[in-house]
């Protein structure tokens, strides 16, 4: 009985391993180190966004603006990173600062106006996209400095730099969510906002902080993307928010709040990455890939709700 329960609990993990096994049998390239480095590099941007949005989702909110924030921070960083302008730290700080501002804007409107996060971040998403087009005058910004391009394209001891960023951010986010007082408050606010408030938690402060964190991580993702493609693209990051939310949900976050984990989200990110990679290796058209991804999202949540029923 216990065994079956565990099996169900890890159902999605088992499905994931089954996919890996199948792919490795069909395609000899799949299990090679270089392929996995490619997978992790490819998912690094989605991972940063998904970690940020996981915090937001656990408080019971949502952030649809992250894709646009990626674009606007990317463009801002690119403007500061053109050759012979500033040292590399300036575009990095600039990009992070712009991301943080957008996060604070989301948080401020949500906590002050009590408008639903879905609506607020939908509005900010459009604002962000517009601003990205305005400051870039609608054109890509290229000719970035060597040192800036290292962020997305360089490696240390053979490990691509984006993977290093991914794991550092992963560890920090996991610790913040699981080990700090703030992390506990994130769960409390999402679990029962009224009770959290009556327990002496400053609910608005917690909400401001999660949106700010999500904005900051979107900024980091924007920098990484700009550096990887060596161009600031005002049209970059389209529908990135959906991939990030999908990863969080596949990883067990509940959009009604109070439930989720960074580990789960990383797992969701990798699952999406592996599927994309595997289907690429098998020459499956990207049209079909989208259908598969949709099935996976719904399947993961379905599996989760079955688990809940068994637990109850």
């Amino acid at each position: 009985m216990q065994y079956i329960k565990n099996l169900r609990q890890y159902g999605i993990l088992i499905a994931f391993l089954a996919v890996c096994l199948t792919l490795s049998l069909i395609s000899p390239q799949f299990l090679t180190l270089s392929n996995w480095l490619i997978i992790f590099t490819q998912v690094s941007i989605n991972a940063l966004l998904a970690f940020g949005v996981t915090f937001v989702i656990i408080t019971g909110g949502i952030d649809l603006s992250i894709g646009s924030v990626v674009a606007v921070t990317g463009v801002a960083a690119a403007l500061l990173a053109r050759q012979d302008s500033y040292p590399v730290i300036i575009p990095i700080l600039g990009g992070l600062f712009v991301g943080l501002l957008f996060g604070l804007l989301n948080g401020l409107i949500i906590t002050k106006s009590k408008i639903a996060p879905f609506i607020v971040t939908l509005g900010v998403m459009t604002i962000g996209r517009g601003l990205a087009l305005i400051i870039s005058k609608g054109r890509p910004i290229s000719n970035l400095s060597e040192s800036f391009n290292f962020i997305g394209g360089g490696d240390i001891l053979g490990i691509p730099f984006p993977i290093i960023i991914l794991f550092v951010v992963f560890i920090i986010c996991s610790i913040v969510l699981k080990k700090t007082i703030f992390g506990r408050y994130v769960y409390a606010v999402g679990g029962n906002q009224q009770a959290a408030w009556a327990s002496g938690i400053n609910v608005n402060q917690v909400k401001m902080a999660v949106y700010a964190l999500c904005g900051l991580l979107s900024g980091l993702a924007g920098i990484l993307l700009t550096s990887r493609i060596t161009t600031g693209q005002p049209n970059a990051g389209m529908s990135f928010e959906l991939d990030a939310i999908a990863a969080a949900v596949i990883g067990g976050s509940s959009t009604s709040g109070g439930v989720g984990s960074i580990q789960g989200t990383l797992f969701g990110v990798i699952l999406i990455g592996v599927l994309n990679n595997g289907l690429d290796l098998l020459n499956v058209s990207s049209y079909y890939q989208q259908v598969v991804m949709g099935v996976i999202i719904i399947g993961a949540v379905l599996l989760d709700s079955w688990n809940q029923k068994i637990k109850d």
Binding site: M1, K179, T180, I181, F182, G183, R184, Y187, A188, G190, G191, N192, Q194, A195, A196, W197, A198, S199, G200, I201, N202, G258, V259, K311
Partner: protein
């Protein structure tokens, strides 16, 4: 005259009770290996009120959920109207005539009374809703119940009592033969309770059987014909209410004798800790004055709507107030938020534990420490060892029944959830603790433990404010009794001078 009528009634019941409409035998249910129901036997006769008694965790709710088709049984038989029921669901059971009035009201707040009553059985012609018909039928229905509720009113605008009446109307509109009532009076005033009882008598005279769940002993004896007791998932006995003295009933429920439910202790009362002066908020309360000393319990009595909870919420920083001052240890303080109130040492246990008390997805440990995390560690990090030590200590002190401190709150019974909420408030080391209906909907064993706890808090020198609608409780633990009526203070009595009659008089002042 009255007696003759009673005799006539009971003779009538006896005549009616020849027909058994529900028979349950050997019903078993386990959750992840733990037996929640162990060979339960139960029967119900037409036209009777059958009280189902037991402490929290005795299995009453699970049993009712199985009867309603919300949960499947592991084994056993349910025979309804002579027909064995198998693999059922809620729709099926509703159709067969079992309805439930829930402890928490399950209605759509944005829909009207009539729309709620006819939810799922709308009257329509080829999918065109016939609103006129449902409003007409609802008005007739409410009229037969003798209640004054507007069929067009949105559910969210109704008082809790009226919502309950609508639930009953809905059950009747389903042609229910069996109505399960789970703590139906927990939010009702005395007058509303007597209206409910009149309705129940009317229903039973028409042959409807009622399964009545309540923790209020006086009600049980007032309304029920037979009493079945469950304890720890086991069937204990079924007795006629007249033949079962309250003392025996209690010992059947708890499995031991309770001599004195209100433990008496001697200790001295110290300095004034909190003083409330001229507290006013338009439409809620006016000119409220009182003080509570160290080691003292101030009971606040009054009818539902007298403004007791509103005063408590204002002092605890949950609501604002327009005028007045609060002094703690002679110093004037500002309570702008629950957080500020806690820093000043004011702890508040809300009457609505589900909405304001706990986080269902978090564990016992995480709930207990929620208000005291910063004081448990001197960094940004949660101190695991300190947290566990505190939670274990509280679990033992308050006798919270759970397999471990890592169990989530959703899986606990109401009484244990309440203990966790109290533990959380106590963990923030308050000097003043406000307990707002702390024993609402919890069983007699847990009640007894809460009374003992109040005495412990007194002896530790806390100032305790107890709001309760149960007068025996107010009399049992308070040193002084403040009576509110329509938002105003009408009396402040010492325990010696207070009598139930006096308090009631001032409450309806």
């Amino acid at each position: 005259m009255m007696l003759a009528r009673c005799n006539a009634l009971s003779a009538f019941f006896e005549y009616m009770s020849q027909k058994r409409i529900l028979e349950v035998q050997n019903l078993c249910k386990s959750f992840s290996g733990v037996k929640v129901l162990d060979h339960i036997t139960f029967n119900l006769e037409e036209g009777e009120v059958h009280a189902l008694m037991g402490e929290n965790g005795a299995g009453k709710s699970t049993f009712m959920k199985i009867l309603m088709g919300l949960l499947p049984a592991d084994s056993g038989e349910i025979i309804l109207d002579g027909e064995q029921i198998q693999h059922t669901n809620v729709h099926e059971m509703l159709k067969r005539g079992i309805s439930m009035i829930h402890q928490e009201i399950l209605m759509v707040p944005e829909l009207t009374v009539a729309q709620n009553i006819f939810l799922g059985k709308e009257i329509h012609h080829f999918s065109w809703l016939n609103d006129a018909a449902i409003y007409k039928k609802t008005r007739e229905l409410l009229k037969t119940l003798n209640v004054n509720i507007d069929a067009n009113a949105k559910m969210k605008h109704l008082s809790i009592a009226d919502k309950q009446m609508v639930e009953i109307a809905k059950a009747i509109s389903n042609n229910a033969k069996i109505i399960i009532m789970d703590e139906p009076t927990s939010a009702l005033s005395d007058k509303e309770v007597s209206t409910l009882f009149t309705i129940i008598k009317d229903l039973t005279s028409k042959g409807v059987a009622i399964i009545y769940i309540s923790h209020k002993m006086d009600e049980i004896y007032q309304i029920s014909d037979r009493i079945t007791v469950l304890r720890d998932g086991q069937y204990i006995a079924t007795k006629s209410a007249q033949e079962l003295p309250i003392k025996d009933l209690i010992s059947m429920m708890v499995g031991r004798e309770i001599e004195d439910i209100f433990p008496k202790t001697e200790h001295s009362i110290g300095e004034t800790i909190i003083r409330v002066s001229n507290l006013s908020q338009t439409g809620k309360f006016e000119n409220i004055n009182f003080e509570v000393k160290s080691g003292e319990v101030l009971g606040i009595a009054g009818l539902v709507g007298a403004g007791r909870t509103e005063v408590a919420r204002a002092i605890a920083g949950l609501d604002e107030f327009e005028e007045g001052e609060i002094f703690i240890n002679q110093e004037k303080v500002a309570v702008r938020s629950p957080k500020a109130a806690m820093k000043l040492g004011i702890g508040y246990v809300s009457e609505d534990r589900k909405a304001l008390g706990f986080i269902p997805q978090l564990s016992i440990k995480q709930n207990i420490t929620l208000s005291s995390l910063p004081s448990l560690s001197n960094s940004w990090f949660v101190s695991d060892t300190q947290e566990e030590a505190l939670a274990n200590q509280m679990k033992n002190n308050l006798k919270i029944k759970a397999s471990s401190i890592n169990q989530k709150l959703i899986y606990l019974s109401g009484g244990n959830q309440q203990k966790v909420v109290i533990a959380k408030v106590l963990s923030s080391s308050p000097q003043i603790i406000i307990l707002d209906e702390p024993t609402r909907g919890i069983d007699i064993g847990a009640k007894f433990e809460i009374y003992k706890l109040i005495n412990e808090l007194k002896s530790k020198g806390l100032a305790v404010i107890l709001i309760s609608s149960e007068l025996p409780e107010i009399f049992g633990v308070s040193d002084r009794i403040l009576v509110l009526s329509k938002g105003k203070k009408t009396a402040l009595l010492s325990r010696q001078e207070a009598t139930q009659e006096k308090v009631m008089q001032y409450a309806i002042h």
